[in-house]
Structure formats: structure tokens, C-alpha cells
């Protein structure tokens, strides 16, 4: 009898033990398995994700990459952008080095450089696969102007027929090339002019920040090359942007104004977060360097901003997402940048032939036209 009761107790204990632990484990397991849908994995029910962008075709030739087709989204009207792509041809050259190819230059290649007409990566050493041009210099901050001199010479010798404008950028500069075309659209490549974020010290007409990127007209590049041939320009200092500015001044190339019609800057020497939110102390060099008055807060930066600097890999993709992908459906932007002269907006696409249905909300009045300060 006692043995049976012992067995019965044991079995009862066993069942209770199993059940108790089951309940405990179930609760613990629930709290752990609460995870939202993994980013990057798509619901198999809905099938394969169709590509957001059309395939863009590149051609690798002579250590440069040629964009044969301007990338854009399916479903958007990029008529104006396409027209500017054809008429305002930009060669982008990116200052990089062997150690930075995988950590920095690669992300430039995956993001903004796809919007240039031609992209050339300038390094001290040639790399036929990336591809990069070998400038034959050493690496280091003191080599920056040497690399710049040789890079522009290279671009002029090999690509002067492939582009109208020649942009220099660092491998941590993010450039919105479509907006650069807007800035340049009212100028011609025969003008001796160059554009960027204008700084004022050490020069009469100012010079352009190296990190924020600067762009020379074909004529400006020609004069740069001529300047070195005639020894009017030499390697004055390794401070690349200042040296460039000094040479430009000597050969009669004008320092342009890249602010939009509301006087907001388009080229930026820092990341968006800093321009939008940071309160730079008055002792900071930035205050005394900027040629034009500085605006803090949201007026720091134009809607059609062209460049930002100190952009790391993560921020390259974030900028790409913000610029070319994420948007507010149906939102009518406050600032409507005026169309470049000589470009007919109406005939650039068939979308405008469609009747545009427009209805007002109770939320705010419609803002008209460009150039109006609200």
C-alpha cells in the first residue's frame, strides 16, 4: 500500500512539476520572442520585392566610371532632372587613398556618385578593379594639394570632352548632384568661375572649403592647368583649399555665390545635424571664416543643398535615404526653387499633360511660387 501511495505521490508531483515549468517557460518565452519584422526580410506571401529604382548602367573605362543612364525611381517624374543630366555634365572626382577604399570610397560609389555623369576616384596608387587612378603621390595631409593639382591635370587631359564641370569631393563628402546641376544651370562651362562654400580669410575674393567640395567650370580647369604650365600657380601650401583659391585668383577665375534665392547656403562643411542643431561657440573658427552671414537652425541649409562634410558610411546611406527615398506623400514644399533659364518645365515631361487634381486642406494656405520669404 505504502509503495503505491509513494508512486502516486511521485506521479502527482511529476505532473505538477511539468505543468508549472511549462507555464513559467511559456511566459518567459513570450517576452523573449517579441520581435517586429526583421528589416530587410520581406513577407514571403507578397513575393519578391520589385526594384524601387530602374537598373542604372555604368561603363568602366580608363579608370573612370561613366553613367549611361541617370538613376531614378519608378513612378516619379524626373523629366527636369534628366534634361539637366544631359545639359549640365559633371565629372566628379573623389580624393581617396588605398586605406580608405573599403571603409569610405566604396560607400561613395554605392550612393551619390551614381548621379554624376563621370566619376573618378583619385588615389596615390592605381587600382584597376575599384577603379582608382594612381596619382603617384604619397598619402597624408601634406600631400593634399599635390593630389589636387595632379587630379585636375589628369581630369583635364583625359576627360575635358566628357564633362562641362569638374567637382572635387572628399571620400567623406556627400554630394546631391541633382542640386549641383540646379546651381550650375544658369552658368556656362566657358565662364571662368568656380563654386563651393565660400570662406573669406587670406584671399581677396575668398576661397572654397575643400571638405564641402568645390566645382570648377571647364574654363577654370583650363586656366588652372595653364597656370601651372606658366608657373603663375605653384604648390604654395599643402592647405589644399586655400592654395586652390589663391591660384584661382591669380588666373582670373571668379569665386561664385552658391546660396539659393532665399540666401541659404547649399554647400556645407559639416553634417546636417550640426548645421541644424548645434550652437557653435562664437570663438569657433567657422564664424570668422564664412564669407556670407551664418544662419543657425533650419535656415542654415537650403532645400536644394548640394553637399555635407564629415559624412561617415552610415550617414552616406542615411543621406541617400533622406534625399532620394523618404518623403511625405502629397506634401507641397514651401520653397519652390525657380526653374533654370532656358529650360521649359512644361515640355520636359508628359506628366504635366495630365489634369492635376488639387484640393486644399483646412491646414494652412497654399504657398505660391519661389523666392518668397514666409
Amino acid at each position: 500500500m505504502t509503495a503505491l501511495r509513494s508512486k502516486a505521490s511521485f506521479c502527482a508531483g511529476f505532473v505538477v512539476g511539468t505543468f508549472t515549468l511549462y507555464v513559467v517557460l511559456r511566459q518567459v518565452y513570450f517576452e523573449k520572442t517579441l520581435s517586429p519584422q526583421k528589416p530587410g526580410s520581406f513577407d514571403p506571401l507578397h513575393g519578391h520585392q520589385p526594384p524601387e529604382e530602374e537598373e542604372n548602367t555604368w561603363k568602366k573605362e580608363r579608370s573612370a566610371l561613366f553613367n549611361l543612364k541617370h538613376p531614378h525611381h519608378i513612378g516619379e517624374d524626373s523629366g527636369m532632372a534628366d534634361e539637366l543630366f544631359k545639359k549640365v555634365r559633371i565629372l566628379c572626382w573623389v580624393m581617396t587613398g588605398p586605406k580608405n577604399l573599403e571603409t569610405k570610397a566604396r560607400h561613395v560609389k554605392s550612393t551619390w556618385s551614381r548621379h554624376c555623369n563621370v566619376i573618378v576616384f583619385m588615389s596615390s596608387v592605381e587600382d584597376p578593379d575599384f577603379p582608382t587612378v594612381g596619382l603617384g603621390t604619397k598619402e597624408g595631409r601634406d600631400q593634399l594639394y599635390w593630389k589636387t593639382i595632379r587630379a585636375f591635370h589628369y581630369a583635364y587631359e583625359h576627360h575635358s570632352n566628357d564633362a562641362d564641370w569638374f567637382l572635387k569631393a572628399d571620400d567623406d563628402t556627400y554630394v546631391i548632384v541633382d542640386n549641383l546641376r540646379w546651381v550650375l544651370s544658369n552658368h556656362t562651362p566657358d565662364e571662368p568661375i568656380y563654386f563651393g562654400r565660400r570662406f573669406k580669410p587670406y584671399t581677396k575674393q575668398g576661397y572654397m572649403s575643400g571638405g564641402a567640395g568645390y566645382v570648377l567650370s571647364r574654363e577654370a580647369v583650363r586656366r588652372f592647368v595653364e597656370g601651372f604650365k606658366s608657373k603663375v600657380c605653384t604648390h604654395t601650401t599643402s592647405v589644399e583649399d586655400l592654395a586652390m583659391g589663391q591660384c584661382m585668383e591669380k588666373v582670373g577665375v571668379l569665386a561664385g555665390d552658391t546660396r539659393d534665392t532665399l540666401h541659404r547656403e547649399t554647400f556645407h562643411p559639416f553634417i546636417p545635424e550640426q548645421h541644424l542643431t548645434a550652437k557653435f561657440p562664437k570663438s569657433f573658427w567657422y564664424w570668422s571664416y564664412c564669407y556670407y552671414p551664418i544662419s543657425e537652425g533650419s535656415n542654415c541649409c537650403s532645400d536644394v543643398s548640394v553637399s555635407f562634410h564629415y559624412v561617415d558610411a552610415l550617414n552616406m546611406y542615411l543621406m541617400e535615404y533622406y534625399t532620394y527615398h523618404l518623403r511625405a506623400f502629397g506634401y507641397r514644399y514651401r520653397y519652390q526653387p525657380p526653374a533654370p533659364k532656358g529650360y521649359n518645365v512644361a515640355q520636359s515631361s508628359s506628366w504635366h499633360a495630365m489634369e492635376e487634381k488639387e484640393v486644399q486642406t483646412s491646414q494652412g494656405k497654399a504657398q505660391e511660387g519661389g523666392g518668397k520669404v514666409h
Binding site: 515549468l21 517579441l34 519584422q37 526594384p51 532632372a81 541633382d178 541644424l276 537652425g297 541649409c301 546611406y317
Partner: protein, 318 residues
């Protein structure tokens, strides 16, 4: 008697070990599969594809515009003042109506003081208040201060949906048998859903004000439970490609994840072009998102959306 107790305890111990062993071996799982595998059990609510809007008339378009107005319910506390101030200065300006509900009053910022420390009770009061003061508004969006929402994209998601039908949308997650919308990535309720919810609040058995469970359920799960009793179920908000629109992470975090999982197509593998919410962003990151969404764009690329939303009055950062 003692010996029986001893056998019982031994039995219990053996039973516990037995259960553990089985679950470790994987032949029997005490829980359920994670949300991603049982996605097919979720209800999906997708935003319209590009072509759907072309078939609506002018009258229908106007009706949609009125129907799609959003009332924002933002739950704040004085201890997170900087997030409160940021929500006020950024995304909430795009709500047709934005009301901040606080646990206690503070002189710094204006809010409806619910004078309630309990999170669930506070949420109930806020929802009830929003319902009673709905006016003409038919869509309700509940957010926390660490949420950033793009209201225009929320409107796009609910554009062709009737608010007199019960909708309870967001980032739908599963906890056992319960499907609920995650709080931090925002909760969308149609008028009908909110109406039923406020009604069931009166039922202390189905929807108690102070939770009676041994371990307290989070507010989002309590909400889902109450709604379930009224026949309203959580649905996942997605774009026309099936990508989730409500994100429980920050955009930086999602890009970082995508860099690891989709290194060759980081941006496409990350987030929807018409995402509605992100969560866990710092106030500075929210200012950057305001700029990125409402201002920065590439010149010459236009979307001729058939519905136009104007910028809010008296604002500068959008």
C-alpha cells in the same frame, strides 16, 4: 505522510527537469513561433499603389481629404521635457489636431493634465478625452514622445479606408495568441475602433482599469485585449510592396542593420519610402528627419501625387 511529501517533491523536480529537457531538445516548444514566421496569421493593411488613386472623382477626392484628418494623442511626462518640446516643434505640427496628455502638470509646456501616474489608466483617460473631443476628426494616432511620425504618410495609408469601420493599425506584433500594435511605433485607431474601445472601458471584467493579472501587462497589450473583446484586431501597416511602415527602431539603427544584412543594397533593404513612424530617435535626429522629409530633395524629381497637403502655418523647419 512525510515520505509521501518527499516522493511528491521528487516527482515535481523530475517533472520540471523533464519539461526543461523537452523544450531544450526542441521537440515541444512551450511558446509560439516568432512573429516573422507566423506573419501569415497577421492581418495586413497596405497603402494604395500608384494607380489606385487615378480612378477617383473630384467629389470623392474632397471627401477623402476630410475623412483623412488625423487627431494626434501624444502621451508625455515632465521628466522627458526635451522630447516633449521636440515633438511640439517637429512632426506634431502636421497633425490636424495635436493634444499632449501629461501625467502631471508643468509650467513649461501646455498639456491636458490627467493627474494619473498609472500608464494604462492614463492612456484610457487620454483616449476617452480624445474621443469626446473628436469633433469632425475620424482618425486617431497615439504616440509616445520618442516616436517620430510623418502624418502625411499615415494619411496615405488610410486614404481609401472608411473610418466608420474598425481599424487598429501599426507595427503588429504577437505575444502568444494576442496580436497587438506596438506602442512605441505609434497606434492608429479609426473612429469606429475608438468608439468601441471607449465603450468597453466601462466593462470592468473585460477591460479593467487597474490590471488584475499577476504580472502587469504593458499598455499596448492591454489595449489589444480590450479591443479584441469588441471584435477589433491588430493589423500591420505596410506599403504596396509589403514593407512595414511603422518602425520600432530609429532610422540610424535600421540603416546600420541594413548595412550588415544588405551591404550591396543598403537603402532599398532598409525602410519604406513612405514610412510612417520611427522610434527611439534623439531630439537632434528628429530635427534632421524634419529637414530630410519636408525640405531636402533632389531638384528635378517630382511626384505628382493626386492629393496635396499644404505645409502648416507658422512653422519654419518644414
Amino acid at each position: 505522510m512525510l515520505s509521501e511529501g518527499g516522493y511528491f517533491m521528487k516527482g515535481m523536480a523530475m517533472g520540471g527537469i523533464f519539461c526543461l529537457l523537452l523544450s531544450l531538445l526542441g521537440t515541444f516548444r512551450p511558446g509560439v513561433e516568432s512573429g516573422t514566421e507566423s506573419q501569415h496569421h497577421h492581418h495586413h493593411v497596405q497603402a494604395l499603389g500608384k494607380d489606385a488613386l487615378k480612378h477617383l472623382t473630384d467629389v470623392q477626392m474632397q471627401k477623402l481629404r476630410n475623412q483623412v484628418q488625423v487627431s494626434c494623442i501624444i502621451m508625455v511626462q515632465p521628466k522627458i521635457l526635451v522630447y516633449w518640446a521636440t515633438a511640439l516643434d517637429t512632426w506634431s505640427k502636421h497633425c490636424d489636431k495635436a493634444v499632449f496628455y501629461s501625467s502631471e502638470s508643468t509650467k513649461a509646456l501646455e498639456a491636458v493634465d490627467l493627474n494619473e501616474k498609472d500608464d494604462w489608466a492614463r492612456l484610457r483617460k487620454a483616449l476617452k478625452h480624445a474621443y469626446e473631443n473628436a469633433g469632425e476628426l475620424r482618425w486617431f494616432f497615439v504616440a509616445q514622445p520618442t516616436t517620430f511620425a510623418i502624418i502625411e504618410n499615415l494619411k496615405y495609408l488610410v486614404l481609401a479606408k472608411d473610418p466608420n469601420e474598425p481599424f487598429y493599425l501599426g507595427n503588429a506584433m504577437k505575444s502568444g495568441e494576442l496580436e497587438f500594435v506596438s506602442y512605441d511605433s505609434g497606434i492608429v485607431l479609426s473612429y469606429e475602433a475608438l468608439k468601441r474601445l471607449v465603450h468597453v472601458f466601462q466593462d470592468e471584467d473585460k477591460c479593467p482599469e487597474r490590471g488584475r493579472a499577476l504580472w502587469k501587462l504593458s499598455e499596448d497589450k492591454q489595449l489589444a485585449t480590450c479591443l479584441k473583446y469588441t471584435g477589433v484586431f491588430a493589423e500591420n501597416g505596410e506599403d504596396s510592396h509589403g514593407k512595414g511602415l511603422f518602425n520600432s527602431k530609429s532610422v540610424d539603427s535600421l540603416i546600420a542593420d541594413s548595412m550588415k544584412t544588405n551591404p550591396n543594397d543598403v537603402v532599398a533593404g532598409c525602410c519604406s519610402d513612405v514610412a510612417v513612424t520611427f522610434s527611439g530617435m534623439t531630439p537632434n535626429q528628429m530635427q534632421v528627419m524634419m529637414f530630410g522629409v519636408y525640405r531636402l530633395r533632389p531638384y528635378g524629381h517630382d511626384f505628382h501625387d493626386l492629393l496635396v497637403f499644404n505645409p502648416p502655418e507658422g512653422s519654419e523647419n518644414d
